[in-house]
């Protein structure tokens, strides 16, 4: 007899339970209740988000596999495809940062090689509370150190280069860090595999690590907010083994090449349960499993425990009948378990046996298609000025923040480049092997990383972008801005934007304001993705990022993929030599009210920005023109450098162009910013749709032509050279600093703040 306590303990509502009884036509067994609870969890069912996600564009001529599989796939030419996806591991990383982050990497890598693709690049997007926060600073620093160490531990040993990402700080993430892991793999067009239990009578094989009692109810844990006892949930976090995953990768790819595999799926969240019923659902078949045959790490595991375990590094394979021996031999070579534990059936039911007893018998559709879908109540957030005025966005915002009269711009620039959101992330990416596989043509630290494809002349550009501050102030505009920045970032290295994956990090969907923001983000993202012709091919929704009643800002993170036609034409942000022309593609407006300048120099909190600020206006046509001009000049081989102008504005972007990098000494610049804006706005405004480029004098005419053809404003700002950054406005030199001073401040800021935590993290 199922009690209301059991229903509540499984995070199901009374209504949901009644629906389960209806679908089953009887009371479920405890095992069945457990299966329903994970499959109907927010994490697995997307019950609050499905009706909204439908509005995203998911098709395009390059889309080979749209959302719905383990990862999306796009065509990149020459018979090659790229499979990629991003996924959150926020909840486990808060409870146990090292293993939480490590298993996040492991899970996303399995999603990629399940498709038949060999992972060739990884990225991650991380958000923490402020490192200097009086109350939580120490914890935030140790969360960052632990998460980075966990990602390094898994990715480095597995042998995938971690090539790019983002690390951002805001106190909204203090007790809700965001850890989003991304992976990309390459696969031949005709060798893509799917998670389908096809072929009645085909054997179902369990491969990889043994099943233990770890991670039981992980998916349910990730579908609820935390209270002050969050850390007691540590046993729901799994422990990752990158070595085993590496063996699993090689064995799976070898088994796929043998032709004996009909379908394959990762056992991720909700392990054996979700992998088996999702495979059956996709193929329209049924599946029967005998749990007595499952390789087990611990004694006397119950059916309930085995069906809900989230032990890592496991896969379910459906082999062609009669060829299971071939698959088992390949796994034996790699010293891994591979056991037939069931069959594909024609009855569209999931039947689970244990010790010769039928412990679960559920229609597959009840777990998948029939899972609840909610159109949750939405309420426009009342606080923000933007939301009060939405729909009447002004052409020329007048609310830029004027700087205090006494502001020393040199000091302001030094403070901005030392702000953790802007400072060099070298302390982080130096711990990641970003060169293994010898394809990384643009290293971490640029607008986007570039991975060449050895067999072709092409290369892939990839980046992750999010902006919780913009989305907090205006979720719809924020989402558009984030997509635009991601597209601009791949354009800056000379790539054409192709497609995106998204990770949607939000607080509780049961709060109408959160749901409203979610819906707004979807609409903003849809609009921008349509404009750039970059469909959404995969993604993940993470709700309930909320602790003690306090949630994260709406934080969509975009993983943009771009295609470089000729790897010899890639462009990087750094100036290349003295005497080049520095120019701006695009136009600067007064966009300082929601900016890093407002936060760092004027001390505005994000809450204050929500009340009083306005995010920059994004004109998608102007953005497209800037991107077209930059790409045209890059593909013509005319650019010596290109860099997106974003966080911290023009002064920060120019500084970054000057800094030294691999094979490049630092190079100074002398520019004049001439327009009608205040000096602070000229230096620090975060107007989107701007790219700083440099080129040889002789190329000026051609670049002017390209910009004019694209309909893009081009302004010559000055020249490269010297060992200082000098910026003047209306004839006054407002910034003049030795480059070495700016670069040292930028390069050491993060490391200096984290020094104390180094030893703690290394002890993990």
């Amino acid at each position: 007899m199922i009690t209301s306590e059991q229903i509540a303990a499984h995070n199901l509502t009374e209504d949901e339970y009644r629906r389960i009884e209806e679908l089953m036509g009887r009371e479920p067994t405890l095992v069945e209740l457990g299966i329903f609870s994970v499959m109907w969890s927010e994490h697995c069912s997307y019950k609050s988000s499905r009706i909204h996600l439908k509005r995203l564009p998911t098709t395009g001529e390059r889309v080979v596999v749209p959302p719905g599989e383990n990862a999306g796939v796009v065509d990149i030419g020459d018979g090659w495809c790229a499979a990629f996806k991003i996924e959150s591991h926020n909840h486990p990383s808060f409870i146990e940062p090292f293993q939480g982050a490590a298993t996040g990497v492991g899970g996303i890598l399995r999603d990629i090689f399940t498709m038949g693709a060999r992972p060739v690049a990884a990225m991650n997007s991380l958000r923490f509370g402020s490192l200097d926060n009086a109350q939580h600073g120490r914890r935030n620093r140790s969360l960052l150190a632990g998460v980075v160490a966990g990602i390094a531990h898994y990715g480095n040993a597995f042998g995938v280069p971690t090539v790019a990402g983002e690390v951002a700080f805001d106190d909204a993430y203090a007790l809700n860090p965001l850890v989003n892991a991304y992976a990309l793999g390459l696969v031949r067009h005709d060798q893509i595999f799917f998670g389908k239990a096809a072929g009645i009578g085909n054997p179902v094989l369990y491969v990889g690590a043994k099943t233990g009692r770890d991670g039981i109810h992980g998916a349910t844990m990730a579908s609820a907010e935390f209270d002050e006892e969050a850390l007691e949930k540590r046993p729901t976090v799994q422990v990752g083994d990158p070595f085993l995953e590496k063996l699993l990768l090689e064995a799976c790819l070898e088994a796929m090449r043998s032709g004996a595999v009909a379908g394959i799926q990762d056992m991720g969240a909700a392990g054996l349960t979700s992998s088996s019923c999702e495979m059956a659902a996709r193929a329209g078949t049924g599946i029967e499993l005998d749990l007595s045959l499952v390789p087990q790490r611990e004694d006397a595991m119950t059916a309930y425990e085995m069906m809900l375990s989230e032990s890592q590094e496991r896969m379910l394979i459906v082999a062609h009948r009669g060829r299971e021996r071939e698959v088992m031999d390949i796994f034996r070579k790699w010293e891994l378990d591979a056991v037939v534990i069931g069959r594909v059936r024609d009855d569209q039911r999931m039947r689970v046996l244990h010790n010769n007893e039928l412990v679960a018998d559920i229609p597959v559709a009840a777990l998948t298609d029939e899972a609840p879908k909610y159109d949750r109540p939405m309420k426009k957030s009342g606080e923000s000025r933007e939301s009060r005025e939405s729909g009447e966005r002004k052409e020329n915002p007048v609310d830029s923040l004027d700087s205090p009269d006494s502001l020393d711009f040199n000091a302001a620039l030094l403070r901005l480049v030392s702000a953790p959101n802007i400072a060099s992330k070298e302390w982080v990416y130096r711990q990641y092997d970003h060169m293994v596989r010898t394809n990384t043509a643009v290293l971490p630290g640029a607008d986007a990383a570039v991975i060449r494809i050895k067999e072709t002349r092409r290369a892939l550009a990839l980046c992750l972008d999010g902006n919780g501050r913009y989305c907090a102030v205006n979720p719809r505009e924020g989402a558009r801005l984030v997509v635009a920045e991601a597209a601009r970032n791949v354009v800056c290295v000379g790539a054409r934007p192709l497609a995106i994956t998204n990770c949607l990090n939000f607080a509780s969907p049961e709060k109408p304001e959160v749901m409203w923001a979610f819906s707004e983000v979807i609409d903003g993202m849809s609009e921008a993705c349509k404009a750039f012709d970059t469909p959404v091919i995969s993604g993940n929704v993470s709700f309930y990022n909320e602790t003690e009643g306090r949630g994260v800002w709406p934080t969509p993170v975009i993983g943009m993929l771009g295609l470089v036609e000729d790897v010899r034409r890639i462009v990087q942000p750094g100036f290349k030599g003295a005497g080049d022309i520095i120019a701006l593609l695009g136009t600067t407006r007064a966009d300082t009210s929601v900016s890093e300048y407002a936060a760092t120099i004027l001390g505005r909190t994000t809450g204050e920005m929500i009340k009083e600020g306005r995010v920059p206006a994004l004109d998608l046509q102007a953005e497209l023109a800037v991107q077209k001009a930059c790409l045209g000049a890059a593909e013509a081989g005319l650019l010596r450098s290109a860099h997106d102008c974003s966080d911290g504005g023009m002064a920060v972007a120019l500084s970054e162009c000057c800094f030294s990098s691999l094979n490049r000494q630092a190079i100074g610049a002398e520019v004049e910013l001439a327009d009608m804006l205040s000096v602070a706005a000229r230096l620090f405004s975060e107007t989107p749709s701007r790219i700083i480029i440099s080129f040889e004098e002789a190329a000026l005419g051609q670049i002017e032509e390209i910009a004019a053809r694209a309909g893009c404003q081009l302004t010559v700002l000055g020249h490269t050279g010297g060992d200082r950054l000098r910026i003047s406005a209306d004839g006054d030199e407002v910034i003049s600093l030795p480059l070495a001073e700016i670069e040292t401040a930028w390069r050491t800021a993060l490391e200096n703040r984290l020094q104390a935590e180094v030893l703690v993290a290394a002890g993990e």
Binding site: A152, N156, A157, F158, G159, D241, P242, F243, L244, K246, L247, W334, E335, Y429, R430, Q431, Y432, D433, H434, M435, V436, R437, T438, T440, A441, L443, R452, K454, V567, L662, N663, V758, L759, A762
Partner: protein, 233 residues
Amino acid sequence: MKFGVIVFPGSNCDHDAYHVISKHVGQPVDFIWHRDTNLSAYDAVIIPGGFSYGDYLRAGALARFSPVMASVKEFAARGGFVLGICNGFQILAEAGLLPGALIRNRDLHFICEHIHVRVENDDTPFTNELKRGTVLRIPVAHAEGNYVCDDATLAELQREERIIFRYCDETGAVTDATNPNGSRDNIAGICNRERNVLGMMPHPERACEDLLGSSDGRDIFRSLAATLAAAHV
């Protein structure tokens, strides 16, 4: 002339070494599975980077017991050339083919970055196409690259000119500031007394193309190929 790249469970720079030998050195090369024991077809074997057996116990500590390692010892004793890179160096040290040990980096972190090494001895099969004192820019990527040995071993390595690479700056100056991991005497690579076994922490296979930021590593493989070509005349 034939190269072999040994593959342990957990090796992950095996494909990179293979790629360099076939594409940039232009020589035939095979993967050698760790259970294979017949190395008679090869003139040189590369033990690549990675995390053999997960490196959970101690880097290289389990790989030394793999069947192929007994054959590598015989192969080296017969005069075959062995190049251990990163995890390969750790395995050679664990197996006793090279002296000393590689412990956790001084700052306890994994470090991945381009560094500089100075060629200390150009009279070896691995450096004969280089000049003593040349500075090479090659990436490192390791958590356990801090070379340690006792005083007597260090004196012997110095006396016998078996320190092949030392960490330095771009001008070739060897100082503590240019030492990325705390290695004794800034040691980045050493060879055995017979000079046919070299272990190094930097990854020359990652520095064979300008596209990847450096092609300074190529001369190490070219030296080895030239040595083998001369031996075959």
